[in-house]
């Protein structure tokens, strides 16, 4: 049986934050090159996954980028309501990362 690890288990940093008042950005940073490569090469991290996790449309995602030097990937998408506006619920966007934590990555260890 193939084992999986969650992104929470694999990542060193897994966070969300505003990227300006109109976008949210998710950063996932690893501390070992092999872990980073396993996640990157797994093909699990896709725009479709993000759409499913956050109930958003693909056109709302402005970036899903891996940055090899930083052993990290970043996902940026449109906020449902701009920061601090009426009806908005997370001014700094700092608590929007939880759905990513449970994403499962194939893991041999």
């Amino acid at each position: 049986m193939k084992k999986t690890c969650t992104l929470y288990e694999l990542a060193k940093v897994l966070r969300s934050k505003n990227a300006g008042p109109f976008e949210l950005t998710l950063d996932v940073i690893f501390d070992k090159p092999e872990t980073y490569r396993r996640v990157k090469d797994s093909g699990v991290i896709t725009k479709e996954l993000v759409c499913r996790l956050y109930n958003i449309k693909e056109q709302d995602i402005s970036h899903l980028v891996f940055y090899d030097q930083a052993l990290a990937f970043k996902i940026t998408f449109k906020r449902p309501v701009d920061s601090g506006s009426i009806g908005e619920t997370d001014v700094y966007g700092a608590q929007q990362h939880a759905p990513l934590m449970g994403v499962e990555i194939p893991c041999d260890i």
Binding site: V13, K17, N18, A19, G20, P21, F22, E23, T25, D27, I29, D31, R52, L53, Y54, N55, I56, D60, S62, H63, V65, Y67, Q69, A70, L71, A72, F73, K74, T76, K78, R79, P80, V81, D82, S83, G84, S85, I86, G87, E88, T89, D90, V91, Y92, Q95, Q96, A98, P99
Partner: protein, 451 residues
Amino acid sequence: MEELKVLSPCGILGYGYPGESFWKGIEKKPDLIAVDAGSTDAGPHKLGAGVGIVSRQAAKKDLLQMLVAGYELKIPVIIGSAGGSGARPHVEWTLGIIREIIEEHKLRFKTAVIWSDLDKQVIRESLKRGEVKPLGPVPELTEEALDKTIRVVFQMGHEPFIAALERGAQLVVAGRAYDPSVFAAYPIMLGFDPGLSYHLGKILECGAICAEPGSAKDCMMGYLRPDHFLVEPLNEKRKCLTTSVAAHTLYEKEHPYYLRGPGLELDLSACEYEQFSDNAVKVRGSKYIQAPEYCLKMEGAAQVAYRTLVIAGIRDPVMIQNIEEIKTEVVEQVASYFEEVPRSDYRIIFHLYGKNGVMGPLEPVKQVAHELGMVMEVVASTQELANAICASARSTMMHLGFKGRKATAGNLAFLYSPSDIVFGPVYKFTVYHLLKVNDPCALVKTDYLEL
């Protein structure tokens, strides 16, 4: 010049920094002390209301050491996005504190004050010429939105700083500025590579966040050299690691290695990060690209409503089961009671913690908790109306009958008495757009003072 040493005391002026780290940095004889004081992170309220992010006391405490050290070393001291939002009231607030310190400690500074407030008439004319465009997922700017906007600032680039430094200013207090420009201006003026200068600025503007452990409340030193730079924390407890420095470029930005600023693009895709010593990292390969058009980022806020809110808990499982219908019923009953008030004059919003209070429409989990924390807010055209609607909605919800209800004494556990909290004005970013200009300095106004 072979090396320029830049000292960044902290991530935001007034966040505080350990004196020990700062004076250790001063012993290394920096060529520049620079600090960023701004952010839009806390939403549109600070810009709209003309208030700061930090307390006056904290801003004074941080400025004092910077000014004393800068005066003694005879080096430039640069403050960007003064007062947080960098508009006139914020810059004046900062200047008031600086004057007080200068007087109390008998300092003297040739000072430049660079204002970045935008006359709305200038924007209206640019709008007509098609020189204003949205930045990211923002609606097009309209005259109507502009009319409602209280004040607009723009993020200046490094050019106005250079102009002020070239005229002999030792202390530069600037309105809203692109955070890295505050650090990049002086080295660019001296002929250092703009790509490295900006990348170093991007790291230093956050204080010691790029170190391990990271903190915005501690000092960082940058050593800029012709073909690379070093970053080094000034607190022994922290270390810069290749991954921590590389990963920092992700922080609060939309793209991990491609950054846009006034008149420039910064391409960090080919950067090399090398462990230079136990606690310092060497960076090379940062590329500065001149943007095809010079655009300034504008920020403007308007007051859009007044708010009153109530905090209450819900524990009755039948009520929790029926919560969506109850919300609708409360809104309907209030509207029918206040039939003379147009529905467009107010909104009742329920934040249900334990359901989707934090993530709203982004929440993928459908399971609801056994108790709900509720913040019911009413936003309305006047404070009086917000208060009236909130009181009515609160009592309606308290006593509403619903399917299966057996707890007929009341539906809500109020946290406080009185239960209704008058919040005051609510703001919105109405302007978050790019403005095309021909001259990077055309819209700034600089005053030169002998302080």
